[in-house]
Amino acid sequence: MNLSNGVAPVLSARGVSFAYGPEPVLEDVGVELSSGEFVALVGPNGSGKSTLVRVLVGLLTPRSGTVRLFGEPPDRLRRRWRVGYVPQRLRIAPDLPVTVGEVVATGRLPRQGWWRRTRPADRAAVDHALESAGLADLRRRPLAELSGGQQQRVLIAKALASEPELLILDEPVAGVDAAAQRQFRDSLVHLVEEHGAAVLLISHELGAVADDLDRVIVLKRRVVFDGPPAELAATGVSLGIHADDLPLWLEELA
């Protein structure tokens, strides 16, 4: 832990191992994120990326190793709104009548206190989240009427509404068109640069953010690469390549 300047990293994991059954899914994984860092986590399908983030946010308990969020074990963390998590799967039932504005407003609850009245500052934060995800005009629309890409942006706006200090997104832009990806990139960069948040992004479509990333972590059950994108490029892997090809490229990386 980096205690030399008295500031714990936003996220740190050391020697993390995990298995659902007999087969290990994560082995001796170490990850660290400081505030203001924008990091991508990539790896072939089934390499343990979703499992790792579920361990990092405390939804799964590692077999061994330690995880710290803001210097605390995940289950003892206070002010949990500081952690935003956008899961890989869209869990919202398609037959649920709910508007875009209603969904994004629930994202503010952790920050405002889930039992508290909504104050003007909370409304402003929800408006801001809707705007930065390009959803201001859609807030009264039922979620079910939106395209897949628009629905993904709703989930991102929901996470942004609590202005988290650590945002973890599990393949949030799979199947989102290029224009929406640029908008998405802008809202993440805004969160990192204006609010000093740390962002951990799992994605195979990194073209839109390639120039903004501080680091790339490549996971294949263990961390096989952790460094700036330029160093990864030197090993022959390009982040600008077509999304379907990136996992194949990464298979080659030892």
Binding site: R80, Y85, T106, G107
Partner: protein, 290 residues
């Protein structure tokens, strides 16, 4: 002359008699509270939870009849206890948990029937299917109190319950107490059942939690609209059902539920005609408490 104590002015037929006014007060509370809670149950695919807890509550009714304390509070204790156990079993999510639910539900109703049979001249029927003739002023005020507690709780926790319905895991990660809220929803369901038992009965109450919501979400575009629409359907069903049961001397509980069923059919047909094609399903209406 024949007005309920506390009613400010005489009401027109069919609510001109005291027993009908007591039934109306108790019925409107139930008509509003049951769909409020039901909106979350339907979206969580827990539509049958109310039915199961209603079965379990019969044990409390039987115990109350046997001891002679009046079954409301014993039913409340049993239903709330069952709700907490059921929620705990549900989070464990194992197959034996499913069987354990059946044990609680059928064990509850069987125990209620046996207990009631041991008590002198006690009749379970009014609690199973509702009976407005048996609603006294004390009952009406108890229902009013329980209903107010339910609506106030939903008003405070509704947004957080929606957050859990939308995505339980991201809610938990960010500090919304999802497990606690799930238990709270089960307890609210139990309280609703007991509040409703004199009006529609524990075996029919689940219908008032689910059917108005099923109707409302065919037309609603927002979650708030679904809940308000469901409450409107619930209230209408109660008022029309009570009036019809007075006019034709019908069982009140069954009549109220049939009005709710008819409303769902009418709304479905209306929507199907408007859309030019029927919706493929009524989504989740028939899915179990698992």
């Amino acid at each position: 002359m024949d007005a309920m104590p506390g009613m400010p002015w005489p009401l027109p037929w069919p609510f001109d008699r005291t027993y009908m006014q007591l039934a109306l007060v108790a019925g409107m509370v139930v008509g509003a509270a049951a769909p409020c809670v039901g909106t979350f149950l339907v979206q969580k695919r827990l539509s049958l939870l109310g039915d199961g807890l209603g079965h379990a509550a019969v044990a409390g009714v039987g115990a109350g009849l046997l001891v002679g304390t009046g079954p409301t509070w014993t039913a409340l204790a049993v239903a709330v206890g069952a709700a907490v156990v059921v929620e705990w079993l549900r989070t464990r999510g194992s197959a034996s948990g499913d069987l354990a639910l059946a044990l609680i539900f059928y064990g509850g109703i069987a125990a209620g029937v046996v207990l009631a049979s041991r008590s002198t001249d006690a009749n379970l029927q009014p609690y199973l299917f509702g009976s407005i003739l048996t609603v006294g002023a004390d009952d009406a005020y108890a229902v009013l109190g329980l209903g107010a507690a339910i609506v106030a709780t939903v008003a405070v926790t509704g947004r957080a319950l929606l957050a859990v319905v939308l995505d339980e895991e991201s809610a938990r990660v960010s500090g919304i107490p999802a497990r606690l809220l799930n238990v709270l929803l089960a307890v609210l369901t139990a309280v609703t059942i007991v509040a409703s038992m004199r009006v529609v009965g524990v075996l029919l109450v689940a219908a008032l939690m689910v059917l108005p919501v099923a109707s409302a979400r065919l037309v609603a575009r927002s979650f708030r609209g679904t809940m308000l629409g469901a409450v409107a359907v619930g209230l209408t069903s109660v008022v029309l059902g009570l009036a019809a049961s007075r006019q034709w001397a019908l069982a009140s509980g069954g009549t109220i539920v049939l009005v709710a069923v008819a409303t769902f059919v009418v709304v479905s047909v209306f929507q199907a005609v408007r859309a030019g094609a029927a919706r493929p399903d009524a989504g989740g209406l028939l899915s179990g408490p698992g």
